[in-house]
Symmetry: C2
């Protein structure tokens, strides 16, 4: 019955991109740089730092080149940006970016609405990105969205996830992140989906990415850790709450993930106090309470003298 | 790797007592009755409905006798009240209560501060309660608090939990609920603690009770379901946020638990829409947003036309 997890889990911190992109409030370049530097200082070795998507579509990510111009980078930390195509890749390279990510979907309808093209066409766009990255000695991370459900199609077949994930790996992505974009999944289904994909490509190349929309994110991570995954995406302070509604949940909060990993005796190399501090900082910028349960608990602990 | 859970899980809804008792706002008898009736209508067959503790200590639970006088009870539903001693038991019986609960701790310091007596003395107080209940054909549920840590002592030995749980069972408690009162636990430790207790008494007599203080509650439940538990405590809308701080988390939200059980294919007999409705009702009474992630997600879903 006792768990046999990976000894070490790498957390991919997606707050500054996937998180802030889905916040109603646009955060300045200065504050985004301060957030990224705090996260790196806390020991997060993989940070999604921005995107080179048109600011017409994603105004929250405008100025990513300026973020990179100002950023004091730590050696050993990867700062990834999302690029939609070759043009975005070139802009990223010009800005000094050294790792990029590409994003498609396991759902045809979501790909159409979100990227304005079919899954196949999105993959075709990534081919020159992956080739150019490879020529430049840069790594490419792949994202698959809607792996457990789609807001337009409902259920998504596991076979579709397997196909898109393996095609991204075949293009040269060193890692493929499986995203439950709408936070609809539960642990058994999450584990079954991951296990199916890991039947067609190495588990070591897979990451899981859960949104806490229905409160399931951490339980889903636990189920996937049991299945052998060793890379988990999360966002400081649970950034990425739906811009349409006050209080709706976004990504899994990095603080709560680190708390669980620490309790399970799984190393992540992350200093939990540093992440709580980074989360408190960005929550202050957004004018609200911290979005992780741990940070909220500590506000109480401090008053009653409890060390957790 | 696939899960072998109990086919059916019984949820013990603790919102009207453990939840409301820890809210700063005192809810009227009328609204407590309305809440309990909605929860029962939603299919929750075990509801902790109040307590007969002095209103000097717990003003939120004043009027529990009146709650029972007004309550339209559903047949097949248990309405439990917490009683601290024989005197409380007699008051409960006089009010028409048919099931009671007793509460002690695995931590000596917590017992002293919370019940003003030692663990042994608290158990001695329960003996006449259990005897009188048995004579009256009533069931007694036992609670053990601080099973994964204590705010005053820090770590709590698993052996202490085993001892207190088995002593409650020996007194005649038909079920013992293991409570992580301060929400400090993580899945591996929760599972190990449950498994240890189940080594000394039947798993069927055990329930788990997690607070979501650090966001771990649902992951802890998952780990305990894997270990074979089939009774889980939770509170509608995550009631029971610490009265000392805005935003701090309380109990595991019943809505999010039911969502996970549904996804895992585990029957609970609970209608998720009914619980969401009850949670929206009581959150309105408390003047705040619903405390379950599911209810918040549905506010968004309704705007974008998504059925989750």
């Amino acid at each position: 019955m006792s768990y046999q997890f990976a000894e070490r889990v790498r957390i991919v911190e997606v707050g500054p991109r996937d998180g802030l992109q889905n916040e109603a409030h646009t955060v300045s370049v200065k504050d985004r740089v301060a957030l990224i530097e705090r996260l790196a200082m806390a020991g997060l070795s993989s940070i999604e730092a921005g995107s080179f998507v048109s600011p017409r579509w994603v105004p929250q990510m405008a100025g990513t080149a300026e973020v990179f111009a100002r950023l004091q980078r730590r050696s050993g930390t990867s700062y990834t940006v999302l690029v939609p195509n070759r043009q975005g890749f070139e802009a990223a390279v010009a800005a000094g970016v050294r790792e990029v990510a590409v994003f498609t979907s396991a759902s045809e309808s979501f790909a159409q609405r979100n990227t304005n093209c079919s899954i196949t066409k999105s993959l075709a766009r990534f081919e020159p990105v992956c080739d150019a990255a490879s020529a430049a000695g840069m790594r490419v991370r792949g994202y698959v969205s809607c792996v457990l459900g789609c807001p337009y199609e409902g259920a998504v077949a596991v076979a579709a996830v397997v196909e898109v994930a393996t095609r991204l790996a075949a293009l040269g992505c060193y890692e493929v992140s499986l995203g439950d974009t709408i936070g609809i999944g539960t642990p058994g289904k999450a584990q079954a989906m991951l296990t199916a994909v890991a039947g067609s490509m190495p588990m070591e190349q897979l990451a899981v990415h859960f949104h806490d929309t229905c409160g399931q994110a951490l339980a889903n991570v636990l189920a996937c850790l049991e299945a052998g995954v060793s890379v988990v995406d999360s966002a400081v302070s649970g950034l990425g709450g739906c811009p349409y509604a006050v209080g709706a949940s976004g990504n899994l909060a990095t603080e709560d993930l680190v708390y669980m990993l620490n309790g399970l005796g799984i190393e992540s190399g992350v200093d939990i106090d540093g992440v709580v501090e980074a989360g408190t900082f960005i929550s202050g910028v957004l004018g609200r309470l911290p979005g992780s349960k741990l940070a909220l608990a500590r506000r109480v602990d401090a008053r009653i003298g409890l060390v957790r």
